[in-house]
Symmetry: C2
Subunit: 214 residues, 2 copies
């Protein structure tokens, strides 16, 4: 079995997550084997990159028919997934919070959004897309009760800084922040600050670049 390596680069982790989603789709379609260059083509990268990523995680069972789809899915799962289910809370159940919840919970992953928090009386006490919505005032007690270990911050940007202390106090281990205020946490809490604006500005920049080179 896998001798799980550590210290895998962030970009490789991202691609492993992406490969697995593609492999799951292949598996659904009854595809049992896939060549590295096919997997690479789907993701717009080189076969060398795919092979390098898989070598990094110690996977090398390339056959004449390519990689065994199910074996590779399981192998990547051993790297990425926690041995137990991971419960995630969404803080802010507006359009973005609802989009993320719906999208994410339809995937059948070990990561699950199992609670939402908001302060809007129209939302608190309701079940939205199958997830119960609680008042933010009860965040800390609910984190313990429901064994929540990660949060998605999809609140209005102005509210985001006020969530930092409750998140720390509740013992949350991982934060994915979608607001445009970067949030800082003490060591021991993993945070990914992610602003959609950055992605659009980046695409726009490279469009401009390719225009000026044309």
């Amino acid at each position: 079995m896998a001798n799980i390596p550590t210290g895998i680069p962030e970009k490789t982790i991202e691609r492993l997550s992406e490969y697995r989603r593609t492999l799951l789709k292949c598996s659904k379609q009854g595809i049992t084997h896939i060549f590295s260059h096919v997997l690479a083509g789907i993701h717009g990268i080189t076969a060398v990159q795919v092979r390098r990523d898989l070598m990094l995680i110690g996977f090398s069972s390339d056959t004449k028919k390519g990689y065994d789809v199910q074996v590779l899915i399981d192998y990547i799962g051993q790297i990425l997934d926690s041995p137990t289910n991971v419960n995630i809370a969404v803080l802010g159940m507006g359009h973005l919070g609802q989009a993320i919840t719906k999208y994410f919970n339809s995937k059948g992953l070990k990561l699950k959004i199992t609670a939402a928090f908001d302060i809007d009386p129209q939302k608190v006490g309701q079940e939205i897309d199958g997830v119960p919505c609680y008042h933010m005032d009860h965040f800390e007690e609910k984190v313990e009760e429901l064994d929540l270990s990660m949060v998605v911050v999809s609140s209005p940007t102005k509210v985001a800084p006020t969530l930092v202390l409750p998140i720390i106090n509740a013992g949350i281990k991982g934060v994915l922040n979608f607001t445009s205020t970067p949030l800082n946490f003490p060591q021991g809490i993993v945070v990914e600050n992610f602003d959609i604006t950055t992605l659009l500005e980046k695409v726009a920049y490279f469009v401009k670049e390719s225009d000026s080179n044309a």
Copy 2:
């Protein structure tokens, strides 16, 4: 004035976009100067990284009071922004499309979401968050009429592959794809495939890693 450099790494472009958002907030609060280590602290990176990024774009007017906030905002604008406005269309006006539109257009950037496309009769013909929603059947003609040059794909994942040809035919230059199907385009079209699941799986992985090192 800036002698605009080319070939700036992707990660630097991302950070420049993030620095600018922070600087705009500082400026709103009446802050006129900022030290590199303060800017770095807000973004959870080192001052060396900030200075390296700004050196890469040829910005060096560090003073004893730190960087001049407004000068740096303008300078980054020269790098990132197109000389003209860039019009963006959202393909798929569900929760995610609406979240992106609302969020993005509130920022007062040169990039603007000015049109949405959907096939839902409840949405087509309506104005949603200030943006007119057209039927996808009229995509190509509207792209020309409204001078649209970029799209955000926020449709259901299953629909995404059917959007590739219309996007190519319409002459779109940049694509930001939020569905979980990676989309490939011919050279000359900039595409960023972005799946939220990847971010959450990445955070979960590093939480697991830090747990096992503790």
